[in-house]
Each structure stands twice: as structure tokens, then as C-alpha cells.
Amino acid sequence: MLTVAAVFAAAALSFAFLLLPIVALFTHQSLGELLGQLSNPVVVDALIVSAKTSAIAQAAILLFGTPTAYLIARHRFHGRAFVITLVELPLVLPPAVAGVGLLVAFGRFGLLGSTFEALGIDVAFNTAAVVLAITFVASPLYMRQAIASFEAVDPDLVAASRTLGAGPERTFFRVVLPLARAGLAAGAALSLARGLGEFGATIMFAGSFQGVTQTLPLAIYFEFDRDFEVAVTISALLVIVTGAILLSLKFTSLWQSSQPTSPSLYARSTSS
């Protein structure tokens, strides 16, 4: 009896610990005050910068990441494990390291700085820099999920499509993509949520200029000293947005479980 009570007590404490900071964000000020802060220009500007950069970064991740993930999932080649590690590395890299890395690669005095300058491209400390930082840090979450989803598509289904007269493109769009769709959506949701919360790499590589590079997390940090109530408002806003993304992820995974595909013949490369 004592152990049962102890387990329940531990669970109750855990829930309370996780829930309290979230609740506090919404009870710190009245709902009227909270809503009133939403029209604060700092909040509006940060919201626009975050929405814009996240949308572009997400589009880039999907556009470049999907074919890359498919290539990795469908082929066995030397150095495959190394390539997958490279793709996953930003996940464990300290964000500050990512920021410095981006700076010395793409910054004005970086590896590609002179090339970019000759081409008239300036990426440091502007909106493009924010997009690069978010893409770099958030892409592994999509890539991991996309590789696993493509691997889970039974190779026999691809082979069947080919023997039924479909070329590689038609096979991809009519068989592979529909079967991997739910997994890809889940990966996209996770990387979107991660990208919205990006802080370290952005502040080092893009700086924090209101209306240009100041995303919601950066605005929290700078309003922390200036106007604490605004920082709390933005925090509450991010809780709602990321919470909604996570919730939609739960729904896509429910939807996914009703669409079984044959198990992969290969071992999953991304299962830890």
C-alpha cells in the first residue's frame, strides 16, 4: 500500500512540476492585460519575423530534405552511417556552436563570405540569416523522421509499381509519398516547433533587430529586462502555438496508425 501511494505521489509531483510554469504564464497577468499586450509593436514585429522565417525555413527543409531523405533511405552505400550522423548532428550540437559555425561559414568574413559578397548576397544579421539558422537547427527533426518513414515503405511495393509500368517519378508520387505521408507530416510538425523556439544560433548569427531578425524567443530575451509583462505575453503565445503543433502531431500519428504499410526489410537506420 505504501509503495502504491508513493508511486501516485511521485506522479502527482511530476505533473505539478511540469504544469505549474505553464499555468503561471497565463495567471501572471489578467487575461485582458495579456490580450492587450498582443498589440504591442515588439510582439507584432516578432510574430511577423517568426512566421515569415519559419515558413521559409520549413519550405526549404521540405523541398531539399525530402529528396535527400529518400535517397538515403533507398540506397545502401559506403559511408551511409556517416551521412546519417552528419544529418542528425545539429540535433545534439549546442546552438551557440551552430551560430558560430554559420558565422564562420556564411558570415562576411567567413568561408563563403567573399563569394557571397561578389554575388551581392549578404546573409549575416538579416532575415536570411534567421532562415539559415532555423533551417540548420530544425532540419534534423524532419530528416530523421523522413528517412525512417521512407525506409518503412516495403521495397516490394516500389518494385511492384515498377513492374506495373510506372517509372521512378510516378512510383514516388503514387506509392512512396502517400505511404510515407503521415510520417513526413509528423517530422515537419516537430521541426516547425523546434524552429519556432530557435534562440542560440539565431542570436549569434543573425543578431536581434526588431522587425528584421528578432523572432519571438529573441523578443522574450530582450523584453525580459525592458518590459517583463511583454516577455510573459510572448511566452504564453509560444506555449499556445507549440502546444497546438504538438497536439496536431498526436492526431497525425493516430491517423498514421490506421494506414499500415508492410514492414521494412531493412533495419531502421534512425532507431536509436
Partner: protein, 345 residues
């Protein structure tokens, strides 16, 4: 009717697959799992690329290593039915059948008795239904060659018997050059005009089922066709009779000439069973305990010592074989074949 030619060398994990086939009818490839049977189908369909050889349907060349020609799977006129059927789980039965661009989809749904399942997804179908969908899908695009990978192995015993008859009719009706892969000699014999025995990627023997039974090339082929396979050493030969001492101790005679280590091949239906040694022309007598009695349709397979005999159910009950005890297996020297011992056999 165009003829399918397949000459291939295809490296597999532990051996090279080497094969030469030429057929306008149905060829079954039989052999143990891992012998490379399915790889033959994949190579013909263009899903695996041989290192050397030539694959052609009539004048239509699909693969030719000399000309560095290899057409992709979608440019080969094949209907491949996968072992696990590989139906598209996200598409209805109708869309599966129509996937290859067939124009007369309804006709095929009717022909394969799946019209009432047209809007159902494959996940809800039984094994037999899945197979009919897979066959309909493969044939609906009017292929020039039909490739069947273990078409009966995923079915339960009851469904299997029915499907085998249906499949036989189907192969006759479409009359396509067909390669069928199976591990079951009975299925191969029932469905194919010619049976090729593959072991470790090599074709051991290619002949009609009757020829395989009548004159197996080696002990492996013999045991595959259902024969008893005993091992022994030739002791003497005179008067057109070879005396073999079996590893189990008995001495038996054969009219085949042989020497040294041999495989002794006797078919179960050439063995007579009695409770006491019978007077007759049969020279070979093996007495032993009844080890098992298995009913196969109207026949009974009874194992006596080292051999299995096949008798009618009526004889089995007259002799009370089910009661166990000792019995005597008798067979003629003329029905006893001696073969060199084959690797893997």
C-alpha cells in the same frame, strides 16, 4: 507466342546464380529456400541486374550484357506476382488492378471474382482474395511474360488446393511464357510443363515432372520428387544385380550399375507393405517398426524403419498399420535406383 529466353549470371550473397532458360510455356523453378529462385524472377523483371547474360521475349531484348543494354522494369512486358503479393495498401482493389494502366479493369475484376471487393482496401482481404487481386493486377496490363513467386506458399492448406486448380486453368487460359518459383515439387508438377531444380544458384536438372521422377539426375532431385533416399556402399555386382549394404545394415539389390558410395532411391508407391515377409519376385525386404502413419487424401503414408511406403487407406486398415508394431516393406530391384551422392542431397 513469343519465347522467353533468360541466360543469367547474377552474384548473390554466398554464390553466383547461373541459369539458362528458354520457354514459351510454364517453367517451375524448385529448390530449397535461399537457392536463388526469386532472384531469377527479379532479374527477368529488371529489378536485379545480372553481371552477364541475355534476357529477351522473342525479338524484344530486355537485357544484353554484350550490348550493354538493360531496360528498366517499367519497360519490360512482365506481370510479376510477389510472394506476399505487394498490394498497394493505400489503394482500393479497383485502383490496384488499374494501376498498370489497364483499360478493361471491370472485366478483370469479374474474371477474378473480386468485383464485389472493388472498393475495399487490401488490408481487409483474405489470403485467397489477395492472391486473386495480385494476379488480376499483374495480368490486367497484358504482359508478355508472367512471373509467379511462391504463388501458393502464403495460403492455408484448404485454400491452397482450390487455388492450385484455379491457377492451373489460368495459366492454360492466358498461355503466357511463365516462370513459377516454388519449394514444393507437387505444386511445380501440377502447374508446369517443365520443372527446373535449383540448388545454390545452379540448375541441377530441367525436365518434365515425369522425367524428373523417372530419371532424377542426382539424389537431391530424387528426394525433392518425394522418393525415399537411403545411403549405402556397393558390395558386389553380378548377374546384372548390384548388392548394396545400407548404412542402416540391410542389404538390398538394384538393377542399376554403380560402385562406391551411392544414394539408393525408391519411390513410396513402389513399396509393398505386409505384416510378414511375402513370397514374390521382389528381392528387397526391409523389416522394421512402424514409426508413423499419415493420411494424405485417400492414401496413407507409412514409415517403416528407414523407408516410407504409400498404400491405400483400405490396405492400411486391413493391416491395422495404425496399431503400430513391426511391418515389412518389400520392393523390386528394378524399382530401386542407384545415384551418385550429390552435394546438398
Amino acid at each position: 507466342m513469343a519465347e522467353l529466353t533468360a541466360h543469367l549470371t547474377l552474384p548473390l550473397r554466398s554464390f553466383d546464380l547461373e541459369l539458362a532458360l528458354r520457354t514459351a510455356r510454364t517453367v517451375a523453378l524448385v529448390g530449397p529456400s535461399g537457392a536463388g529462385k526469386s532472384s531469377v524472377l527479379r532479374a527477368v523483371a529488371g529489378l536485379a541486374r545480372p553481371t552477364a547474360g541475355r534476357v529477351a521475349l522473342g525479338d524484344d531484348v530486355w537485357f544484353d550484357s554484350d550490348r550493354k543494354l538493360s531496360r528498366p522494369p517499367n519497360e519490360r512486358s512482365v506481370g510479376l506476382v510477389f510472394q506476399e503479393y505487394a498490394l498497394f495498401p493505400h489503394l482500393s482493389v479497383r485502383k490496384n488492378v488499374a494501376y498498370g494502366g489497364a483499360t478493361r479493369v471491370d472485366e478483370y475484376l469479374e474474371r477474378f471474382r473480386i468485383a464485389r471487393l472493388a472498393d475495399v482496401r487490401p488490408g481487409e482481404l483474405s489470403g485467397g482474395e489477395r492472391q486473386r487481386v495480385a494476379l488480376a493486377r499483374a495480368l490486367a496490363r497484358s504482359p508478355g511474360v508472367l512471373l509467379l513467386d511462391e504463388p501458393l506458399s502464403s495460403l492455408d492448406a484448404h485454400t491452397k488446393a482450390t487455388v492450385r486448380v484455379e491457377l492451373e486453368e489460368l495459366l492454360r487460359e492466358f498461355g503466357l511464357p511463365t516462370i513459377l518459383v516454388t519449394h514444393d515439387f507437387d505444386d511445380a508438377a501440377a502447374l508446369a510443363h517443365e520443372v527446373g531444380v535449383i540448388v545454390d544458384g545452379k540448375l541441377r536438372q530441367l525436365a518434365t515432372p515425369e522425367e524428373l521422377v523417372a530419371s532424377p539426375a542426382d539424389t537431391f532431385v530424387a528426394s525433392l520428387t518425394g522418393a525415399n533416399l537411403l545411403h549405402g556402399v556397393v558390395e558386389t555386382r553380378h548377374d546384372e544385380l548390384t548388392l548394396v549394404r545400407l548404412d542402416s545394415g540391410e542389404r538390398i539389390y538394384s538393377t542399376d550399375a554403380a560402385s562406391g558410395d551411392v544414394g539408393v532411391v525408391v519411390y513410396p508407391w513402389e513399396i509393398t507393405v505386409g505384416r510378414v515377409p511375402q513370397q514374390g519376385s521382389a528381392l528387397n525386404v526391409i523389416a522394421g517398426d512402424i514409426r508413423s502413419v499419415v493420411h494424405v487424401g485417400s492414401r496413407v503414408r507409412v514409415r517403416i524403419g528407414p523407408v516410407t511406403a504409400e498404400v491405400t487407406a483400405a490396405s492400411a486398415s486391413a493391416l491395422d498399420l495404425a496399431g503400430g508394431g513391426t511391418a515389412v516393406a518389400t520392393f523390386k530391384a528394378t524399382g530401386t535406383r542407384l545415384l551418385p551422392r550429390a552435394r546438398g542431397g
